[in-house]
Symmetry: D2
Subunit: 267 residues, 4 copies
């Protein structure tokens, strides 16, 4: 492995750490759609050993007429699943005014791509004592992304996790171009961990497993992956969600590759 | 001229209208730096006949350590100039919590590039009875830009002015690539007026005059242009600001071209 | 007008000059399809006063199964039209081995976008005593484009005409993003003339007239425009071709704007 | 592993095969600079077990005043090394007129990025009985890349190896954005093998080892890597060349990872 700076290990609680020798999988649906959906997904992920559940309550959608998420109702559902299965919750906040109330439930606050340079929001989450998942803006340079993290850090919060989610290019076969090389770059320029989002990064579920393996091999600290019991019926992003069988297969492959790469790292 | 949809004419007050056969120049510094600076610029622009003054009080800067603008102090300065010279004021707001207080002074609220998809902010300004200058996101497609306008419109505000300010591409000679062709496209897909920002669009003052002429020729309803008494001493964006002499020369050239094109349109 | 370097005037013969105070329109179909088609177009353009006829004989197409042009048969047709109506001919060459034979007919050799960095080809045309129309590569920076011209110039040929034809970006409403600001940049960094190709630059005929006006206003030395008697039946690029009526209307509008801008320049 | 189409195995001779379960490393300098340099590199690579040597004789450089390669002199040097150490040679051809003479020495003809849509060249190499390494154009979509391969295939040559070498985006920390996800896409849309060029893809030697691991993990059939005895003295691309120690370390890491992934694939 290259001689990077030492990555900070961020303790999420419940025995989960991001950074270090771990490669942590965060999974869940794009959007919280119903209690039933979340119990089904929660049970499945819990049985597999997943400890971090993602699920969007506030959804930033290009059109105001698309499904906008369930809002605080969605957070309440997330809270039930959290208590039932002992998950840590990753969810996005878009409005500074929603932070206080949301913080009772969310364990890792996600700043989405569209808000990577929403400096009011960055400053507010910078005042919290809670890890922030900072997604790369869809047309942000790495330098701008690092600067966005400095907005958070400057307010005192030093628990930041970068998340590469693809950048906008001319290529239209994929939804975005997943810039996996940003992983070793962030590791050389910063000491915060970085995970990869292959679901948004590719926009096609069939590319998610191989992209996740590449993320592990290139040195990422984890991945955040969309899963849905019936992707074709998802209210958003079904095209990029794995179903349960596909997810299970991928998760096992990753576990094997992880052990091999760790043996190699330690050997 | 092509047979576009009829563009809505937005009445700013004080005899200023955007849309229709007009080509309105909005001018001012990137950032409000001091009362002295603003009086100097204000007097110069007033004498030329400019009626719309721009000036940033809240500045979204890539780095948290760059000059962030004077905030409400800056707005107070703008208010003095406004009363002294009878300008209408164009200024950016980034935080929904600043809207109420800012609205007493700002006549056209600017939504900046970085916030084009800050949906919380769009919804809030959608509730106002005040024109909104909606800048294109630096990597927004035209479709996403139109959708952002729909977030405002859906809340009831139908006084929207689009502003093309360049998109991010691989070309690095200019700060952005000014997509002038978006002007006739927006006019064919929407009935709101559209102006052009050649200062951010090119990032180089020497390219501003010719780009503004092209904006007029392609059918834009105006331009928003940065000016500074001493560009080399500007606290932000000096590289793209015209000085007084350059601005004056450009303004006169535009006035002539405007008359010619209008004669042609009417003839 | 900005104080640019003085642009070289390239004498095409027959009283046609590119550079200087002129704004020359080159027109014709994307591809030479038949003698009948070319006579029809040739007569129409001649009557309007157009002196430079474009028409592709060798067509670089993305797929090997698309219409590839008529090759030397196409050049023969061009030659008949040339003799009948006294045009100067602009046509693309892709293979160094075709140059000698083609030069008997073609007056301005076009290097297409895909071949802007085909250095073998550039060196060969650099040895000719014939003007070269150097299209910008679809993802070329301005610096690379200037360097491509240096390949030609270094071999001795100093009759180069740049042609901005749009660059590849994420925006997909248009076929390319027409970078009109490249015009004043090229004029500041080089002394060769530059024309604009709004047909490829936008990919939509309805955007061609306004884009051509903007090209004139921003300082270009001409435009190259696709025209077809029946665009919907064109063997290539029909979507971006004007029909005769549309072309005529645009040509007259341009003539008026040209006079006005020249009056202004001279006044 | 995902259920891709079965990849064709291309037999290079000398026991080297590209495609199938192999991950083949091609290595060598960007440009052949001298016999001495090539003997030094050749001996080093031979001792490590590398069988495919790359080295540019004809170099497509942005500026006509940069080092253009040694041309046929360079090929002669490559031939000596080839005979001394029993390598198979990978080298670029840019001019259809150089093919015949070059084919006596080159075993895999490389079509470079700038020539991916040089259709005259593609058709000529399509007539050969020799593997073609088809690099992706720096702004080519995957669809255009596949179409370029069809130009070769349509002439009869069905020994094509795709090579992902990064695409041009707004990100300027790296020379290009390495689109690793193109690997599983090409494998799903074509049955030809695909390798990765992390040297051009990143433009920074320190990013090459981790990117190569990611290429292996995502399913590529090999990598082509630049190496130089003294990168800081290289006549071209020194910034992205590994020195001998760095290369050796990377090569061993890849060998280990390769075994592990293959065990997994077979298990």
């Amino acid at each position: 492995m290259e001689d990077f700076k030492v990555t900070k290990v961020i303790d999420i609680g419940n025995g989960v750490k991001i950074g270090g020798k771990n490669f942590e999988i965060i999974a869940g649906p794009c959007a919280v759609e119903s209690e039933e959906q979340m119990y089904e997904i929660g049970k499945f992920l819990k049985d597999l050993g997943i400890k971090l559940l993602r699920g969007g309550a506030f959804k930033p959608r290009t059109s105001p007429y698309s499904f906008q998420g369930l809002g605080f109702e969605g957070l309440k559902i997330l809270n039930k699943i959290k208590e039932e299965y002992n998950f840590k919750i990753v969810s996005e906040i878009m409005d500074p005014r929603d932070i206080e109330k949301s913080c009772e439930i969310i364990d890792i606050i996600q700043i989405g791509s569209r808000n990577m340079q929403n400096y009011s929001l960055l400053k507010e989450v910078g005042k919290l004592d809670k890890p922030i998942l900072l997604k790369r803006g869809m047309s942000s340079t790495i330098r701008e992304w690092l600067m966005a993290a400095e907005y958070i850090e400057a307010e005192g919060n030093k628990d930041i996790i970068f998340c590469e989610r693809g950048i906008r290019t001319f290529e239209d076969y994929t939804r975005n171009t997943l810039d996996l090389v940003s992983v070793p770059i962030i590791k050389s320029l910063s000491n915060y961990p970085i995970i990869v989002d292959p679901s948004h990064g590719t926009g096609r579920w069939e590319l998610v497993p191989s992209s996740t393996k590449a993320a592990l091999a290139i040195g990422a600290d984890g991945a955040i992956i969309e899963i849905h019991p019936e992707p074709s019926k998802a209210l958003s992003d079904g095209r990029q969600s794995l179903n349960f069988n596909e997810f299970k297969k991928m998760y096992k492959d990753i576990e094997i590759l992880k052990r091999e790469i760790n043996n190699d790292r330690n050997g």
